[in-house]
Assembly symmetry: C2
Homo-oligomer: 212 residues x 2
DNA sequence: CAGAAATTTGAAGACTTCTTCAGTGACGAA
DNA sequence: TTCGTCACTGAAGAAGTCTTCAAATTTCTG
């Protein structure tokens, strides 16, 4: 579709196809798989991206950026710091073992030492997520919602670290750690660190009618 | 060396060489690299392990087992729960970005979805490490050393998760998170969860002579 | 030491992947 | 319509890998 809309569309479509291919076949995905995903031959892919590595890198970069952007959008709507913290924690954990974004991160993490650029990509994402948590924590502290028992940098770093680790555990198919269990593990730490009970929305929903 | 000691030695040497090769070239290491590391040709490797995949799997299995065994040995000598907890946390974090064991785990984690057996390997290791922490925590609680603010299962799961995540961050080359910083981040959580100040041995050594 | 068994080599075949490129078809401009 | 450009195909070459195997070498046994 969209045959005559210029290079930009085709390149965007190729990046999208490459993302799907990486998620399906790993960070060292073959050119053939990318071409198949895009509905083209390998020659056609090379026509647009003479260097396949740069295409894969661009796709992975776009994938990490998108994950961060979507998280920021999701929490932008929420004002209450406690509710914001809970929603942020929920949005950082994969929904299940098939979560595309977290799959991508695991692939990149495994390749990070051999391809240092992926390490840079993940480091940047990590630091920004820590800052995102710090803003929520400091705002809550300033408003008197939270009583921080540790520095916001410490709490932020640990929360993102826990997200990452439980993402890996879920990807590895841990039999008992699913989305809900991992959420509670993060929330238990957050409760300890913020001195706030952090009643989850799910818990609230249980005790109240669908619309009050 | 040791040319006449039979198959077992040769197979053990091959597993050792494969471990080095995996750490150097990733979970999908080539037969050629294994042979080079072992000082043999690819044909000779196949003579002992007709199926290369089974050799790599065996090497990776041995690598994770060894990591766990060494941790257990290291902490077995220590009696005081607080000191034991601090030492355990220290031993679970890579010393630097070149730490072989943690390199291996990152490689396996990246490949876990494509090779579910590696997911099983890592899951098994994770669960045993959690149990290891639980024993320390419960012992300390029973002795009155710790005042656990969360269930020992929660604390154990979160501590191992933090170890894993900071291992990944260090492998990815995070500019500010090194062994010491990561230790403090874990210790800060452990202090909160156990209600114990967990003075580190390093800190103690600073304030006391080498032999009292 | 001589023969048997175990071990290793080196090369060949089959396979996969990357990359190049001559040729094909579609589309727009003149 | 004709020409030229763009997008793409499909085949061929180059490089790397896995696997097999006959032959050579080393080690063991009597």
């Amino acid at each position: 579709m969209a045959k005559t809309q210029g290079q930009k569309d085709r390149r965007a479509a190729l990046i999208s196809a490459t993302q799907k291919a990486v998620i399906a076949h790993g960070a060292d995905v073959k050119l053939t798989e990318i071409a198949k995903q895009a509905g083209l031959t390998s020659g056609a892919v090379l026509y647009h991206y003479p260097d396949v590595q740069s295409l894969i890198l661009e796709a992975n970069r776009a994938g990490t950026e998108r994950f961060y952007d979507e998280r920021m959008q999701m929490i932008a709507k929420i004002d209450d710091p406690a509710e914001k913290l809970v929603s942020t924690i929920r949005s950082g954990l994969p929904t299940d073992a098939d979560d595309d974004a977290v799959r991508l991160f695991c692939e990149l993490g495994g390749a990070a030492r051999r391809h240092p650029i992926y390490g840079t990509l993940l480091t940047s994402l990590y630091d920004r997520q820590v800052a995102m948590y710090q803003v929520i924590l400091e705002t809550g502290a300033a408003r008197g919602t939270f009583d921080l028992r540790q520095e916001s940098l410490t709490i932020g770093r640990n929360l993102v670290a826990l997200e990452d680790a439980y993402g890996y555990r879920m990807m590895a198919g841990h039999p008992t750690i699913d989305h809900e269990v991992a959420c509670e593990l993060l929330l238990d730490y957050a409760r300890l660190a913020t001195g706030h009970p952090l009643i989850t929305k799910a818990a609230l929903d249980e005790g109240t009618p669908t619309h009050d």
